[in-house]
Symmetry: C2
């Protein structure tokens, strides 16, 4: 029997208890050991639960109980999660977490401490909910040099974008529906401003390329500015709009990493990922493109990923999983401005010759149209150019107001 | 440094050498050990290769060299692969294979021998080429009870079906193109008659449900009988046609497992898997549906899966991976005839009232139509009924010749 402790009894924490209880026998068979929840740490009281006797409020009880070999951290946020996780690793306990904020900020440091103490630090549930992504990248694709990762990493924003394109809802209306259904928080900023997707692309980039990418190194844009008019232009030209996290290894050994809304061709596997589903596409030098798809959030999917990590820890109590990346550095993440891209641009201008001017400035640009397009509105897709050239050219143009701008995924 | 031997230097075997050579440093970093190919076993001569000094023709050299800790079997077929693999495991060597025929026939026995000798027997490359599928099912979804698996498991037939629906090619023409492009063998039977998909669904069912499903227990149908007329009916009703492997856990603890062409709704993620791509959809009780997608065959993708297993063996030279399933039994796999399904049926009859008769016999049937449909041809989708009831009802109908019949995937 292996004793574990769970820190946090919120949405995911209660799901972890549920999965461990419901699939108890099956899990014991897989782990070849019975898994016993000895403590649950939470500042709140849960007197009515059948397992209310397990609750404690004092972290030091877990820290100082040598019979606890594995600790599950599902509190969220960086503090006190970071201090608690670090203390557990230093005490020789393996830690499993689904806390993407913690891993994106402190992953390299905590992996290092885990290695020094010969224990495991696992976090499959931090990206893509229950979809297996991190372990396949680290293990199954180990023989590949990974070149690029692109993904729909946030279910809430994907739900909102799906409602905008399928049901013609405005952003605010779709957001309210997402909140009503429990997909979005009352303060939706972490989702709609791209911070959640940013943390996940940091974790994916770090694991794929071996060096920590920090959230403040990732240019991050959310979906608040996207309108139904942008969708009309996209759909008319054979695209849809998705919020994508992207990271790519450059020939220099450095990487780029960005989060932002993109035009996605309707034949791309990513275009058909709808509602709260997530999908991550990984490009390796030997394997080519592989993708992983499923429900990217939710109590039981995420809890099942956490429990799978716990099982893996039980099976590796005396052996380390070689999951590791190094600390990052200031100049490791490069600006995406040097990347050659096509861009969607939407602008207004009172200059009646603007169509001609665009055609001159961006030779080969594809002009777009939509129903009820005002005379003073112009939308187009640029030819493939380095991004800073596109930006400079737009900055040089007179009498225009840019009201929409997105990458085209290629 | 870890010495390995490779048995077989064909399509996949030469790819394994290529991946190990090309990504040598990167792989050594992942494995934390240098991997040295000491022998390559092949009955043929390869005098012109830069590594021609490694070739041997006598298996006993590998068997009796205690410095060889890991053996890669990429010969294909059951003999002599089975005897060689068994001998290696008995000698305490871990074995990695991509040989689906071997694993589908002898997996349980070889896993048992591996366990008794405290070594690993890994075969990620046997299903889905380089797409990570088996390890995610065994490890990442370990906290789930897996309920069902459905997949497009054979790239050759998927290529043929894609050419039939997209380019209107007849089966024979599409098969010739597949042979011309190297996707199909000169004797295409293993692919087009469903045997390859059958072996893969056996492996998936065995790993997901813990007990061996043998190829002769799987009702297997290929794609030779599918015509452009079937596609016309399918597309007209919002479907496409795919060759699917399916396995499902019944409440009784027994399973069903089948391979055959199915109507797939055009909104299903499986409907948009085209050309030589594969996709496997796994349904778990906690995770819901997750799917894995990528190039399901090919030299480098499959070789990269084999090499990832080698890396995993190197990291676990002294620890067992708990991959295991038990021997199967005669009554473990149940007939799918008791399953409630909708079916597509196409028949000819000179009875002008046949439309009426069908509507009476299958109340709620959906009649289908196509361009240039002859007067004596009738096609429909039955209501959801137990399969044997559909079969019995059809058998009772007079003056009909059935010319097409497929499941509808739900």
């Amino acid at each position: 029997m292996v004793n574990i402790a769970i820190m946090g009894h919120g949405f995911i924490g209660s799901g972890v208890v549920e999965v461990l209880t419901k699939n108890h026998d099956h899990i014991a068979a897989k782990a070849k050991e019975e898994i016993n929840i000895k403590y649950i740490l939470d500042i709140r009281d849960f007197d009515d639960l059948p397992y209310s006797d397990k609750f404690i409020k004092d972290f030091s009880v877990i820290e100082n109980d040598d019979s606890i070999k594995i600790v599950v951290e599902v509190m969220g946020g960086t503090e006190p999660a970071y201090s608690f996780v670090k203390a557990c690793l230093l005490k020789g306990k393996s830690v499993v977490t689904s806390n993407k904020e913690l891993v994106a900020a402190k992953g390299a440091e905590l992996l290092q401490i885990a290695e020094e103490n010969n224990v495991n630090f696992l976090f499959e549930g931090s990206v893509g909910g229950g979809i297996p992504i991190l372990r396949p990248i680290a293990q199954c694709l180990a023989a590949n040099d990974i070149l690029e990762i692109v993904g729909i990493l946030n279910g809430t924003t994907n739900f909102i974008l799906t409602k905008m394109t399928d049901d013609g809802m405005e952003f605010e209306e779709a957001l309210e529906l997402a909140q009503h259904l429990g997909y979005a928080e009352r303060d939706p900023s972490a989702d709609v401003d791209g911070h959640d997707a940013c943390r996940k692309i940091c974790i994916l980039a770090s694991i794929a390329f071996g060096k920590h990418v920090y959230p403040n190194q990732v240019k991050t844009e959310g979906i608040r500015k996207i309108t139904l008019e942008d969708f009309a232009y996209a759909v008319g030209a054979g695209y849809t709009v998705k919020l994508l996290g992207r990271t790519k290894l450059l020939d220099s050994g450095k990487v780029i990493a960005t989060v932002g809304p993109c035009f996605v061709d309707h034949t791309s596997p990513l275009a058909n990922v709808n509602d709260v589903f997530n999908s991550v596409l990984v490009r390796g030098d030997a394997i080519g493109d592989v993708s992983f798809y499923g429900r990217g959030a939710g109590k039981l999917p995420t809890a099942s990923a956490v429990v799978a990590d716990v099982i893996d820890c039980v099976k590796h109590l005396s052996a380390r999983k070689y999951l590791f990346w190094a600390e990052g550095s200031d100049d490791y993440v490069q600006s995406a401005d040097g990347e050659a891209v096509k861009m969607y641009v939407r602008l207004t201008s009172e200059n009646k010759l603007m169509g001609q001017i665009i055609a001159e400035k961006f030779q080969g640009a594809q002009m777009l149209s939509r129903e009820n397009q005002p005379d003073n509105e112009f939308a187009f897709i640029t030819p493939k150019l380095k991004k800073y050239i596109i930006e400079d050219t737009l900055a040089d143009m007179k009498d225009i107001t840019i009201i929409g701008k997105m990458h085209i995924l290629e």
